[in-house]
């Protein structure tokens, strides 16, 4: 049974992912990575380097072809599909480039949906959602529908949704990809603040400038880790 050293929220060992196309695509060619509790790191790399696949595998949206993934102490390989859903519901938060908000819903209900599949009641979900929105600076936008929010506000809602359940790890896939520079900066600042408050966050980005602001930067190329730099502020 694979185990993770104490203090790690994520540990992956020799993970490969092969897409059975013709010819087969080796999206991940043997990646090992440990993420400590409370760590903030960026995964950078050009298109096709395997960033998104890595995020999907870490996020249990996809299973690795080989290798072990242990998240919050749970070994993904030994879990059923339903258990993986449960793992995502309780221990993993996602932030997407396209925000993926439900347009007909208010900001609060979008955030509350982050807790939908945990079985928590609507009243409690909304209360926690309101707190999370206040935390990301949208206390005045609770009842605005998603369509009435700006891009930056939408991403803040999405971040609040990822964090509302206090997951072990938050995975952000190009969180600033659809935002202008100024708004990007504010989102990166928010991510840094949340990290300072103890959240473990993995940010996938093709933007090296953003990546270098974070304490740890992992560069991917052709499905392999090219470099793993600690920028002097990291936890390890």
């Amino acid at each position: 049974m694979p185990t993770a050293p104490p203090g790690l929220v994520l540990s992956i060992q020799n993970v490969t992912k092969v897409y059975p196309t013709e010819p087969p695509v080796h999206a991940l060619a043997g990646v090992s990575l440990d993420v400590a509790n409370g760590e903030l790191l960026a995964v950078v790399g050009p298109s096709g380097s395997g960033k998104s696949t890595l995020l999907h595998v870490i996020g249990t949206l996809d299973r690795p072809t080989s290798g072990d993934v242990v998240i919050a102490g749970h070994s993904v390989n030994s879990l059923t599909d339903r258990q993986l859903s449960s793992l995502r519901a309780r221990h993993i938060g996602f932030v997407f480039q396209q925000f993926h908000l439900l347009n007909g819903y208010t900001a609060m209900d979008n955030v509350a949906d982050g807790l939908l599949y945990t079985g928590m009641g609507l009243y409690d979900r909304r209360e926690m959602a309101a707190h999370a929105l206040v935390r990301v600076g949208l206390g005045a936008r609770l009842m605005h529908t998603a369509t009435k929010l700006s891009g930056g506000e939408k991403q803040r809602v999405a971040i609040a949704r990822a964090l509302v359940g206090r997951p072990a790890i938050v995975l952000a896939d190009e969180p600033t990809g659809n935002l202008d520079t100024k708004t990007s900066d504010s989102i990166v600042e928010l991510i840094e603040e949340l990290h300072d408050e103890g959240a473990s966050i993995v940010v996938i980005t093709h933007n090296r400038e953003i990546a270098e602001r974070f304490p740890r930067t992992i560069a991917l190329r052709d499905g392999l880790i090219e470099s793993d730099d600690r920028n002097g502020r990291g936890t390890g």
Binding site: S85, S86, R88, L102, N103, L116, Y117
Partner: protein
């Protein structure tokens, strides 16, 4: 050691309702139109069943009023069927059958009736003259529109009571002015006009005179050619069996016995056939509505791949996704079903009250309508729901 303490993903039933209605709330027009398909089908079925029930109730009320215990005894006519006249003693014999409560004979008179003595003899207006017993009205359950029916007293004199159609053709609507008609080369006083007979419409086109009067003034030999028989309702079939032999012991096969209320029931049976036809059409409409819902749901699954991906990322299991889309299809169908039941009841109410019928919508119609809607919704939603649940989260999220 790896942890195994993982509580399963859960979705409360109330939250299921909320997630299932997302698509309806965000795409109201489309939802409305696809529910409309189901609504039309259900409304057609409910109103057809409702109208059929209401008209059946009307028939039953009519039969209840007129009774199903009225029988007609006639002499067969035509080759090998007899003379067309009943034996002289037939009426008396029939009256002696124990369960027979009343009998009343009519006998066709060879005379014509005109508005006055100036009308050419060919223009009879199709009005026949019948010599009738004074209890005819009671036996048939007929009603007087104006004036009075023949009595023992008036039946001996040149007086006549007109059937509804006959009165119309002779231009007489009431007896206030003591109108006369030219009947068999003689003036007869019109003392009454009848309402339509529901069980013996042939009498509507007749001028009815008393038996004695027909003998005295028209030279008629009153041999009955029809006898109306009212029996104890319990023994209608028994009486029908013995009537031919009682009316004509020598040649019972020459006697025709019929039950006029059968004609009403036959008419209802014919309209039942139409009910079946319209029910079939309603079922087709329902099927088309179901296909419409399936179509909309399939499109919805394609359009909402990102939402499906998001929900999987938020922790939804395949089953949660399937149930959400199945629930949405069911919701559409139930909305259409409820709308259809209301519309169907409305149509029934409006039409039935315009016909003076009671408004009856059988439980089977509305409960069955709702049941059918739910079933259609479930079937229509099954395939899209399976498709949605089989979508891999990464594939679903890849849509930008």
């Amino acid at each position: 050691m790896a942890r195994t303490d993982l509580a399963p993903s859960r979705l409360h039933i109330g939250d299921l309702g909320r997630t299932a209605s997302v698509g309806l709330r965000t795409r109201k027009m489309r939802a409305g139109l696809s529910a409309l398909g189901i609504m039309i089908g259900i409304a057609a079925m409910v109103s057809v069943l409702g109208l059929s029930e209401s008209s059946k109730w009307d028939l039953l009320a009519k039969l209840d009023r007129l009774g199903t215990n009225l029988l007609t005894v006639q002499a067969g006519q035509g080759i090998g069927a007899g003379s067309g006249q009943l034996p002289e003693e037939a009426a008396g014999m029939v009256a002696r059958i124990a369960p027979v409560e009343a009998t009343s004979s009519i006998s066709g008179v060879d005379a014509n009736v005109y508005k006055n003595d100036l009308i050419p003899s060919g223009q009879t207006g199709g009005v026949s003259v019948q010599a009738v017993d004074v209890n005819l009205l009671d036996t048939l359950g007929g009603r007087i529109a104006d004036g009075a029916f023949l009595t023992e007293a008036t039946a001996d004199y040149p007086t006549v009571v007109l059937g509804a159609v006959a009165a119309q053709r002779l231009g007489i609507s009431d007896v206030d002015d003591q109108p006369l008609v030219w009947l068999g080369d003689q003036w007869f006083a019109v003392i009454g006009v009848l309402e339509e007979f529901e069980l013996s419409p042939n009498l509507d086109r007749a001028a009815l005179v008393g038996v004695t009067a027909s003998e005295r003034f028209l030279g008629h030999e009153p041999v009955a050619d029809s006898i109306y028989v009212r029996t104890n309702p319990e023994f209608v079939d028994d009486v029908m069996d013995v009537l031919p032999a009682s009316a004509n012991p020598q040649n019972p096969e020459e006697i025709e016995v019929s039950r006029p209320s059968d004609a009403l029931e036959a008419r209802e049976a014919a309209s039942d056939a139409f009910t079946t036809l319209f029910l079939g059409l309603g079922a087709v409409a329902l099927l088309v509505g179901g296909v419409g819902i399936a179509n909309v749901m399939v499109i919805s699954v394609l359009e909402r791949r990102a939402e499906i991906g998001l929900r999987r990322a938020l922790g939804a299991t395949r089953r949660h996704v399937a149930v959400q889309f199945l629930g949405e299809a069911l919701l559409l169908a139930v909305i259409g079903g409820i709308g259809g039941v209301l519309l169907g009841v409305g149509v029934t109410a409006i039409y039935a009250s315009s016909q003076g019928w009671a408004i009856l919508v059988p439980t089977l119609a509305w409960a069955g309508g709702l049941g059918a809607a739910i079933l259609i919704g479930a079937i229509a939603g099954l395939y899209p729901a399976m498709r949605a649940s089989r979508l891999s989260p990464t594939e679903a999220l890849r849509t930008s």
